[in-house]
Amino acid sequence: MSSALLNSSLLQTLLCLVLCFALLSLLVSTLAEIVNSYYNERGAQLYKIISRLFDDNININFGQLLYNHPMITSLRKNINSLPQYISDTMFSQVIIEIIGNYSRNYSFDETAGAIKLASSNADIFERFKEGVSKMHYTPLKLMLMNMADRTESLSKDEHDRLAILESQIQHWYNDQMDRTSGWFKDLMRKRLRWIAFVVAITLNVDAIHLFSTLYTNPALRSDITAIAEQVADNYEKQKADTTITALQRAYNAAAAAETGKPTPDTNVLNRLIQKATQVEQMKTQQDSARLALLKSADTTLNLIGEINFPIGWTKRTPPILFFTHTSHYSAWACIWQVLLYIIGLLITAFSISVGAPFWFDVLLKLVNVRRAGKKPTTNTSN
């Protein structure tokens, strides 16, 4: 590759553009995490899946009753939250217990004036079988009956039978959980797209305008390229740390960047996030993770504000630019400009929805490519 190409305006422009996308996608990913933690999607989804396992519309939903069991209630972060994770061992133990309890007999004790537990089968496996036999006949009942039959055909020993039954329920549960993880990824992908679109509009990031401005402004390009290299270097250092997530690496790389400019305080979204941070601080002890995410979003926004990207709702950027431009456009030119603006927003939204780690990796590669073509700096002191 020729040195001219590697140091060309085009490559520099691309580098600046990738930095912008990297920072914006970092913001998008962080906002998505904030939304996730707010909705407790994992906990809600786990509840939904466990509910569906036992939902045959006629029997008691043992999956929902599981959430009233002391072993599960102790996993709740607070009285109203749902546990984000239930191990297969705990699930199988609690379900066997709940279905077994369903078979227990109770009777009214006239002397005590209360309902008392009558004698029940002492064998947990047998109790489970009796509980299943009390259910209305549905495919769910048949499946649980078959589990019990299979267990009995494998062993007659009381302890072995329980372990085999637990193992069968665990397999069933784990198969369902695999599907949940796929569903969760799909949900996240969709959510990232929506958040990316909102961010692109809120910060008014028109990729086409961004590209053309950077391409025609060498001074701006030069400033941003220096920051891009710095962020890429930070990211390379962070990559050595395998104990943190890819998103955290990207965040650390961005947070360590020095722009040498004061933090602007003109961004409305920035101020809103600061206010939200204050609200979150009121309950720091309850949810420090969400507070950390808000701070990450705040830092990323600050950095985007410090770098003089041609974005935002200013007179220099579309669509306000269309109204302040001195030359007159024809009607078709106006339509064309608006169309370009919309396409620019869509390109941005799509690009920043692919995830921060992707753009940080691209940034690192571009910086390395650019450096490969640079002449080594002459060391005058030698």
């Binding site: 707010y38 909705y39 407790n40 809600a44 939904k48 509910s51 569906r52 939902d55 519309n57 006629i58 029997n59 008691i60 939903n61 929902q64 009753l65 009233n68 209630t73 709740r76 607070n78 009285i79 109203n80 939250s81 109770y106 009777s107 009214f108 004036g113 209360a114 309902i115 537990l117 209305h136 609200v279 009121m282 309950k283 309850q286 949810d287």
Partner: protein
């Protein structure tokens, strides 16, 4: 006599938002997607924190409005509690200071609120099982008086078997709860064996009897089958059936779309007090409580119409007729028809009319104290301690003795639960 009896609240709910369909907020918000999203949001801690911040800010700017916001926050907090036990504990705390007490807890079938929507909520079987476990808990066994929710549309369930297997001493349920505004008639032929059994055993029934509250949320056509609606009455020869059928037919042929498309209005047809006449004519000894005395609006409208007979109702003629007076007529004509002051208790003007009327009425022996906890939480004086306070202040000692001690004892006593 009341000295030996516990103070009884005959009407309360402890089911939570988990027991209501995901689309339940369509009661207030028409758009299904928006209702489901708000349902998800109100269950989040972040929303509660945000509401509390609003509450704090309003302290400085609008203390009056703050009270309203605070009531809604409390309503949301109770409604989104994790368990029915949490809600029962909240209610119990208001009664501990009154000495021995017991609370009727009404389970409710919320599973058929829209035939065309699906939901992942806790169905009636699970809701009831949770109550069974609470009743077994020695902490609550003598305080909690559960009623069993039934609906003739319950699939795969033998209604009589459902009722008899729960309403007995070993399981602990005392009575039956129905809510016709969700889309069925109390004279539905499928309910016949249940009413027969309840009448024979003196088992109490509780039913919702106001024009407001929650109601069927699906389309008119989904429940009225585009007018091809088939009525199977358990008592086709009842004196009330012609006017009931006339009311249904007028609704089916209603040309005013604002009436036909308004679920709250046309659900009046399902919950109308007239609909109990075919049942009561067949089983005159059936012990049934038509709750809320028809609702505060009907009570006030009745008083206004007495002063000025030309006072109009906000309903078409065939949906008109005052529910308060209709319930009083039923209480007069049938020996075991009761009513309660739940929810209506939160309306000061309505309570003035009620206390005046019942001062001189023998029907006082068939009126029960109840609050409709926690659904009243949205009202100005709707919190439980506030309602207890109103009740103790507005009624005389003799009336309190009847409404909260003697009458509930008569109402709850059956051949099964002595």
């Amino acid at each position: 006599m009341s000295d030996h009896l516990p103070f009884s609240n005959a009407h309360s709910h402890i089911f939570t938002s988990q027991h209501a369909p995901d689309y339940f907020l369509r009661t207030a918000i028409k758009n299904d997607w928006l209702a489901r999203q708000i349902d998800k949001m109100v269950k989040k801690d972040g929303t509660r924190t945000a509401l509390k911040s609003v509450d704090w800010i309003l302290k400085f700017f609008s203390p009056n409005y703050r009270n309203t916001v605070r009531r809604y926050i409390e309503f949301v907090q109770i409604g989104t509690s994790a368990t029915q036990e949490d809600v029962f504990n909240m209610e119990s705390r208001a009664y501990m200071r009154l000495g021995d007490y017991r609370i009727v807890v009404l389970t409710q079938v919320l599973d058929y609120l829209d035939y065309n929507s699906t939901s992942n909520h806790k169905k009636i079987q699970t809701q009831v099982q949770e109550i069974i476990e609470l009743k077994r808990n020695e902490l609550y066994h003598d305080k909690l008086i559960p009623f069993l929710g039934i609906d003739p549309r319950m699939q795969g369930i033998d209604l009589l078997q459902w009722v008899t297997s729960h309403i007995n001493k070993d399981v602990g349920f005392y009575g039956i709860k129905i809510y016709p505004a969700y889309g069925f008639f109390p004279f539905d032929v499928r309910l016949d064996p249940v009413w027969k059994w309840a009448a024979e055993n003196d088992v109490p029934v509780m039913t919702h009897a106001t024009r407001g509250g929650s109601f069927y949320l699906g389309t008119f056509d989904s429940i009225m089958n585009q007018g091809g609606f088939r009525i199977q009455s358990l008592n086709p020869n009842s004196s009330a059936m012609p006017r009931i059928l006339n009311r249904i037919s007028q609704l089916v042929n209603e040309s005013d779309k604002s009436v036909k498309k308004n679920n709250e209005t046309w659900c009046n047809v399902f919950g109308h007090p007239d609909n109990y006449i075919p049942v009561l004519e067949k089983y005159p000894s059936l012990k049934i409580c038509l709750a809320h005395l028809g609702g505060a609006n009907e009570v006030k409208l009745s008083a206004a119409q007495q002063l000025n007979p030309a006072t109009k109702t906000p309903y078409p003629g065939y949906l008109g007729g005052n529910w308060y007076t209709a319930i009083l007529d039923l209480m007069t004509n049938f020996p075991n028809v009761y009513s309660d002051i739940s929810y209506t208790l939160s309306d000061k003007d309505a309570m003035n009319i009620i206390t005046t009327y019942f001062n001189n009425s023998p029907l006082i022996d068939k009126l029960l104290y109840g609050t409709d906890f926690y659904l009243t939480q949205q009202e100005t004086t709707g919190d439980e301690p506030g309602l207890i306070n109103i009740f103790l202040k507005d009624f005389s000692e003799a009336q309190i003795s009847k409404l909260a001690y003697v009458n509930p004892d008569n109402y709850l006593r059956s051949a099964i639960q002595v």
